[in-house]
């Protein structure tokens, strides 16, 4: 399946990736080739086949609703790009 240039840009926006004008054609070609590869799946009859999410068909374990972790905020925030008073700083979102 061939993607159009505006589709490539729309996907990039969903991914929060910036694609330069010079790169669009290359991404268009490579992504279309990958989609061509996976399009073989459409021809496979999968009626009555249950989707497989875990190789051993395991389900998520539940645990007791108890606090088991200790607060390590300062330790984890040491590697953050910008923090203040225990908060992560980002450009202003709400005016």
């Amino acid at each position: 399946m061939a993607l159009e240039q505006d589709q490539v840009l729309a996907i990039a926006e969903l991914c929060r990736l910036q694609i330069s004008d010079a790169e669009v054609a290359e991404y268009q070609k490579n992504l279309s080739n990958i989609l061509d590869l996976v399009d073989q799946l459409a021809a496979v009859d999968t009626s009555d086949v249950a989707p497989m999410a875990h190789p051993l068909d395991a389900v998520q374990r539940l645990r007791a609703d108890q606090v088991t972790e200790t607060n390590q905020r300062e330790h984890f925030q040491k590697i953050a790009p910008a923090t203040e008073n225990g908060h992560y700083l980002v450009p202003r979102v709400i005016e």
């Binding site: 996907i11 991914c15 990958i34 496979v44 086949v49 989707p51 999410a53 190789p55 790009p81």
Partner: protein, 484 residues
Amino acid sequence: MHNKTIAQIARELAAGEYSSVEITQALLSRIEQLDPVYNSFITVTPEQALAQAKAADELRAAGQAGIWTGVPMAHKDIFCTNGVLTTCGSRMLGNFVAPYDATVVSNFNAAGAVCLGKTNLDEFAMGSSNESSFYGAVKNPWDLERVPGGSSGGSAAAVAARLVPGATATDTGGSIRQPAALCGITGIKPTYGRVSRWGMIAYASSLDQGGVMTRTSEDAAMMLNVMAGFDPKDSTCVDRAVPDYTATLNDSIEGLTIGLPKEYFSADLDPAMAQQVRAAVAEFEKMGAKVKEISLPNTHLAIPVYYVIAPSECSANLSRMDGVRFGHRVADPKDINDLYKRSRSEGFGAEVKRRIMVGTYALSAGFYDAYYLKAQQVRRLIKNDFVEAFKEVDVIMGPVTPTPAFRAGEKTSDPVSMYLEDIFTIALNLAGLPGMSIPCGTVNNLPVGLQLIGNYFEEGRLLNLGHKFQQATDWHQQAPAGLV
């Protein structure tokens, strides 16, 4: 010192032939001297390693040493190591000093192992050649013009070049078995859920599995003994007793039935390699195994299924790389969207961006059923092929790769041609089965790998077969010229 196996080092340390500090120093200087050529390490940690070695020697002097006390190894730079740079081969994590240890890392620390450093890999483990690492391509020690395979190419090259006797690795579509084959070493990917994924940076969560790279099957068994086991912190880890993998290495294989899938000996396979693989199977026949041709009819669908499931899961997993809490952040963002977009665009390389985009598209409104759901259905068909096959045979064997190590740059401009490199390895990840690669010959002086595929939780059987083969042959002792 450098040509010793893990088993040998453990024995000789116990016998007091040398100290952990001595062998650690010897390997660290070898890395310093030779690794500028191979680029197999992203970070070498001499201070931490020597501190661990010294502590190990003290423990031994106090009569408290275990099997692993003071034995050197390395971790693929996808495992978080507390206080040590953990890059995952990406610029995005170029400043990420992990604030905690992965469970696998804790296990080796608790066993007393000495970690020499963090090995190179394809960016976020996405690749089959180790050319997508932000920290530079890794060279294959057998031929510096050729790739070591990927994504665990750093671990494979380091073990093949005798810089370290064993290293951890991960396998999402072949990332342990393929580089092991291309570098002429031993590698095992356990059953999905056998080894904890906690602290192992996620690529495709339903496929990723930690494993090991060593020079012998015996060493792989020793490493897996440390790594395998239940971890409540990984919700997909399996709660099941771990056998002692070294205890069954010498078991008889008399009467065992080996299945050879006809689809794995197709036109895609280099005829000279097919000959080596068949000769290896004949070696098992000499030991009393029987051979049966089988069919895995959905083999051709494994790559298409993988390139829906893996990108979809990676697009979700890598959304956490947003420049807010850790990792690369762009300078002077205009607004929050600009912060996300430019941080991610600068931080990620081309292949990672491609896979995020494919996955985002496959999961986007209106396409989910046609791509992700469909791929999960076909994934079950691929698993069912193996379930049927294991009703007739005890183990499956075949090639690991269609060709020996290819030249650097040969496949980088055409992503799909790179994807086809994993044609014989990907189905196991989809099915969640254990797989192993052992060296079984050479073609044009490049190593050839034999793939051993076991039923669920049959790692012990694979290691047993690998060990018996390595007792009868010496392919695993062959080394790149000048390195022994």
